[in-house]
C-alpha cells in the first residue's frame, strides 16, 4: 500500500492565493464594466493592455530569472487591471504599458516578487505616471459612451470643481475621472462581494472612508461630496486593502486606515494636488512594517511586553 505521509493539518482552507486573487478580479468586474459603459472601447483596450503587459512582464521575468512561473496565482493580473483602472480613459496606450511594467518589474519583482513588495505596485505605478506625465494623466474627459473619441469633451473632476455635479452623477459615475473610480455603485458592489467572500475585512475600507469623512468636515468641506469624489472610495476598497502592504493585526489595520484617511484629507485640503489617495496610501504602505512592529498581539500566558526586541 502506498500511503502519503505528511504532517498535520490534513485539511486546508479552500481559500488559496489564487481564489483570493480571483475574488478581487471578480470584485473589479463591475468597475471595469462601468468604465466601458461610460468611456467606450478605449477603456476596454487600455485595461486589456495594462493587464496583458503585467502578466507577460511577470512571466518573462520569472522565466529569465529561473524562478517558478507563478502567473497562475492571478496576482499579476490583479495588479495589471488595477493599473489600467487607475488611468484616465483616453490615456495613450504606452502609459498603460509603462505603468504595468513599472508595477511588476520595479516594484514587485525586483523586491522579491509576490509578498515582498513594500508598496502597492499598481499605486506606485500610478504615482510615477502622475509625476512624470501629469498632463496626460489628468486630462479628464466627460463620459462619452461606447464611441470613445467621437465627441470627447474635457472637464474637471468633482474634486477640482466641487458642486458642478449632482449626487446621482457622483454615485453612478457620470463624471470625469479615472476609469475605476467614477462609478461608486460599482465599487460598492465589488466591496460587498469581497466582504461576503471574506476576501478582505471591513476594517480598512470603512475606517479610511470614515476618517476622510470626519476630517473633510472638520476642514470645512462637504464630507459627502468629498468621499464620493475622486479616487477615495476605489482606493479604500481595492488599493489600501492590498494584503502585502497593509498591517497584519486588527489594531495595526485601524492605525493604518486612520492614517490613510487623515492623509487623504490633509493632501486634498492643504496640498497642491486635488487628489490625495495615491500618495496617502503609498506613505502608509511605507509605515506598515513600523506599525506591525508596534501592534503585535499579546502572546497567551505573557505579560504585555514592554520592549524587548532590537531589530
Amino acid at each position: 500500500m502506498n500511503l502519503f505521509l505528511s504532517s498535520a493539518p490534513h485539511v486546508h482552507s479552500p481559500q488559496t492565493t489564487r481564489v483570493l486573487m480571483r475574488n478581487v478580479l471578480i470584485a473589479l468586474a463591475p468597475c471595469a464594466g462601468a468604465a466601458i459603459w461610460y468611456f467606450g472601447y478605449s477603456a476596454l483596450i487600455l485595461m486589456a493592455i495594462a493587464t496583458a503587459t503585467a502578466v507577460f512582464a511577470e512571466l518573462i521575468w520569472q522565466m529569465l530569472t529561473g524562478q517558478k512561473v507563478r502567473i497562475d496565482d492571478l496576482s499579476a493580473a490583479v495588479t495589471g487591471l488595477l493599473v489600467g483602472l487607475n488611468l484616465q480613459p483616453q490615456a495613450p496606450w504606452w502609459l498603460a504599458v509603462i505603468g504595468s511594467l513599472f508595477a511588476i518589474i520595479i516594484v514587485k519583482c525586483l523586491f522579491g516578487g509576490l509578498g515582498d513588495n513594500f508598496m502597492n505596485p499598481a499605486l506606485a505605478a500610478r504615482g510615477v505616471l502622475l509625476a512624470s506625465w501629469p498632463v496626460r494623466m489628468t486630462s479628464w474627459v466627460l463620459p462619452t459612451g461606447w464611441n470613445s473619441y467621437a465627441d470627447a469633451v474635457t472637464g474637471a473632476t468633482p474634486l477640482a470643481s466641487p458642486g458642478s455635479f449632482t449626487l446621482k452623477d457622483l454615485l453612478l459615475g457620470n463624471i470625469p475621472g479615472t476609469m475605476g473610480e467614477v462609478c461608486k455603485v460599482a465599487i460598492l458592489v465589488g466591496l460587498l462581494f469581497l466582504l461576503v467572500t471574506k476576501t478582505i475585512s471591513w476594517r480598512i475600507p470603512v475606517c479610511v472612508v470614515a476618517t476622510t469623512f470626519v476630517f473633510s468636515w472638520l476642514f470645512g468641506n462637504d464630507p459627502v461630496v468629498s468621499i464620493l469624489s475622486g479616487g477615495l472610495l476605489f482606493a479604500a476598497v481595492f488599493m489600501a486593502t492590498d494584503y502585502v502592504t497593509c498591517p497584519m493585526t486588527d489594531k495595526g489595520q485601524y492605525i493604518y486606515a486612520v492614517g490613510v484617511g487623515l492623509l487623504i484629507a490633509v493632501i486634498r485640503n492643504f496640498g497642491n494636488y486635488p487628489e490625495g489617495a495615491t500618495y496617502a496610501i503609498l506613505l502608509m504602505n511605507i509605515a506598515t512594517p513600523l506599525i506591525d512592529r508596534f501592534t503585535k498581539n499579546r502572546v497567551y500566558g505573557h505579560e504585555r511586553k514592554v520592549k524587548k526586541e532590537n531589530g
Partner: protein, 443 residues
C-alpha cells in the same frame, strides 16, 4: 453568547466538521483475532515487556512494567497466547517494541483486580494509585500519564477539574458517543478525580455542536457534588488545554507553566471514564472508543481493544470505499499519518480517518502574501508568518525570542494559509530542535 478564545478556525465547517457520518452511530464492541500492544503508548519512556513468546496471558494482566517518572504499566487487552515480542512499526520514525497476542476468545480476566467500589465513599488516598496501576494516560491524544497530573507539588493546589468534552477535532465522534452512552461513568470518573485532591468544582466542557451530549451530561451530573456542564462555542481549537482553561475559568496558564500553576487539571472525558473503570471495577485501561471514518464503506464508532490493527478495524467497517491515499490516526488538524494500515492502535488513538488519493494530494508551498490570516487565526497570539522565516533561516535564538515555545502546534495557521505555507510542521520541528539543544546544554 458563549465565551470563547481569540483566533481559531472552523475546519470543514460546511460539512459538520466531518462528523456527520458517525455521530449518530452507536458504539459497537470489536474484539480482534490478534492484538499488537505497543510498549510506548504514553508520553515518557516505553515500558519493559514482562511476558515471553508462548506465555498465556489473561485480560488485564500486566505485560509491560513501567520505566521512569513518566512510566506506565501496559496490560493485555485480550486473553490468549503471546505469539511475538519484538519490534513493530507504529507511527514513529523507528519501530518500537510490541507484544502480539493471539485471542483464545475465553475473555478470562486476571484474578488480582481490586475494585474500590463507589467513587463517593471509597478511600480517597487509593484513587491516584489505582489510576496509575490501571495504566491510564490522556486519551484525547496527548497520552500524558494521568497520575502525574495529580502530583501536586509544595505550594500548589487544585480548585477546578475540567473535563474536556469539546472534541473540537474534525471527523471524530468518539467522545461524543461516550458522553451519550456512558455519561454516568464520566461523571463518576470526574468525582473520583475531584475527591482524590479534595477539589470542590468539576466542569464538563462541551462544544455546542453536540446539544444531545450536553443534555445527557447535564442529566448525569444532576445532583452530583460540585459538577456542572458548560457549553462552549464550536471553534477549533476549543479543546486545546490552554484555550479551555481560559474559556472556562478566565485564567491564563503563564508561559512555561502547567495548568496546576493556575489550580486547574484538565482531563479528557475518555480519561475520566477510564478512571471510573479503574476505581469502581479495578479494571485497567484495555479498551477505548475510536471513530473509524472517511473513505470506508460503513463509517462507525467502535469500542476497540488496545492493540487492534488499523487494517482489522477498517475491515470491520466494510473496507475501503475508495483507493486510500492517506490514513490519519486522529482528527485532521493534529492527527498522525500512518505509514500503512498495518499499525496498532494505542491508548490515545481516538480515530482512524481514511483519505482518498485526491484529499491526500501533496500541497506545494507558495510565497507568503502577508494576508495576516495566520496572525488572526493563532489562538496564542503569535506571528506565524514571521516565525516561519525564522524557522527557514534555522535561527533557534530568534525563534525562541519570538516565543515559538508557546506555540501549541494546533495547526490553525497552516489550515488557514492561502499560500499553503508549511507553518505548523516547521514550528513543531523548531520546537523539537530548541528542546534538544536545551537538553544538550544541560548535559
Amino acid at each position: 453568547m458563549k465565551k470563547t478564545f481569540r483566533g481559531g478556525v472552523h475546519p470543514l465547517h460546511g460539512s459538520h466538521e466531518g462528523k456527520a457520518p458517525t455521530r449518530d452511530k452507536a458504539v459497537r464492541e470489536y474484539i480482534p483475532d490478534t492484538v499488537t500492544i505497543m510498549m510506548g503508548m504514553h508520553l515518557g519512556a516505553p515500558s519493559t515487556p514482562c511476558v515471553q513468546k508462548g506465555d498465556r496471558v489473561k485480560v488485564g494482566q500486566v505485560i509491560g512494567t513501567p520505566e521512569g517518572f513518566l512510566g506506565l504499566p501496559v496490560h493485555a487487552s485480550i486473553a490468549g497466547e503471546v505469539i511475538d515480542v519484538g519490534p513493530v512499526q507504529g507511527l514513529g520514525a523507528v519501530p518500537g517494541i510490541g507484544v502480539t497476542i493471539k485471542n483464545d476468545y475465553t475473555d478470562e480476566w486476571v484474578d488480582d483486580i481490586e475494585p474500590l467500589g463507589n467513587v463517593e465513599t471509597c478511600p480517597k488516598e487509593k484513587i491516584v494509585p489505582a489510576i496509575k496501576k490501571a495504566g491510564i494516560c490522556g486519551m484525547g491524544g496527548a497520552s500524558f500519564p494521568t497520575h502525574v497530573k495529580f502530583a501536586v507539588k509544595e505550594g500548589q493546589y487544585c480548585d477546578t477539574i475540567i473535563l474536556n468534552g469539546a472534541e473540537c477535532e474534525t471527523h471524530l465522534t468518539a467522545d461524543h458517543r461516550l458522553m451519550l452512552e456512558n455519561s454516568v461513568r464520566i461523571v463518576d470518573g470526574l468525582r473520583a478525580a475531584m475527591r482524590a485532591l479534595d477539589v470542590k468544582k468539576g466542569i464538563i466542557a462541551i462544544e455546542d455542536n453536540k446539544p444531545d451530549a450536553i443534555e445527557a451530561m447535564r442529566k448525569a451530573a444532576n445532583g452530583r457534588d460540585g459538577v456542572e456542564v458548560r457549553p462552549l462555542k464550536t471553534k477549533y481549537p476549543q479543546g486545546g488545554e490552554k484555550q479551555l482553561i481560559h474559556v472556562v475559568t478566565g485564567r491564563e496558564v503563564p508561559t512555561k507553566k502547567l495548568p496546576l500553576d493556575v489550580h486547574v487539571i484538565v482531563l479528557n472525558v475518555g480519561t475520566a471514564a477510564a478512571i471510573a473503570d479503574a476505581v469502581i471495577d479495578g479494571k485497567p485501561l484495555i479498551s477505548r472508543i475510536t471513530t473509524v471514518t472517511g473513505h470506508v464503506n460503513n463509517p462507525s464508532n467502535f469500542r476497540i481493544r488496545i492493540g487492534t490493527m488499523a487494517e482489522d478495524i477498517i475491515g470491520e467497517c466494510g473496507g475501503y470505499s475508495e483507493k486510500p491515499g492517506k490514513i490519519v490516526l486522529g482528527g485532521a488538524m493534529t492527527g498522525m499519518p500512518a505509514p500503512s494500515d498495518i499499525v496498532p492502535l494505542a491508548k490515545a488513538n481516538n480515530g482512524v480517518v481514511v483519505y482518498n488519493e485526491k484529499e491526500a494530494l501533496n500541497l506545494e508551498e507558495s510565497p507568503c502574501i502577508r494576508c495576516g490570516r495566520c496572525v488572526e487565526a493563532c489562538p496564542i497570539g503569535l506571528n506565524p508568518y514571521k516565525l516561519k522565516y525564522l524557522c527557514d533561516a534555522d535561527d533557534l535564538q530568534a525563534a525562541s525570542e519570538a516565543d515559538i515555545m508557546d506555540c501549541v502546534v494546533c495547526g490553525s495557521c497552516s489550515y488557514i494559509c492561502p499560500a499553503h505555507r508549511f507553518l505548523t510542521p516547521a514550528f513543531k520541528n523548531m520546537k523539537d530542535k530548541i528542546t534538544a539543544a536545551a537538553r544538550k546544554k544541560r548535559g
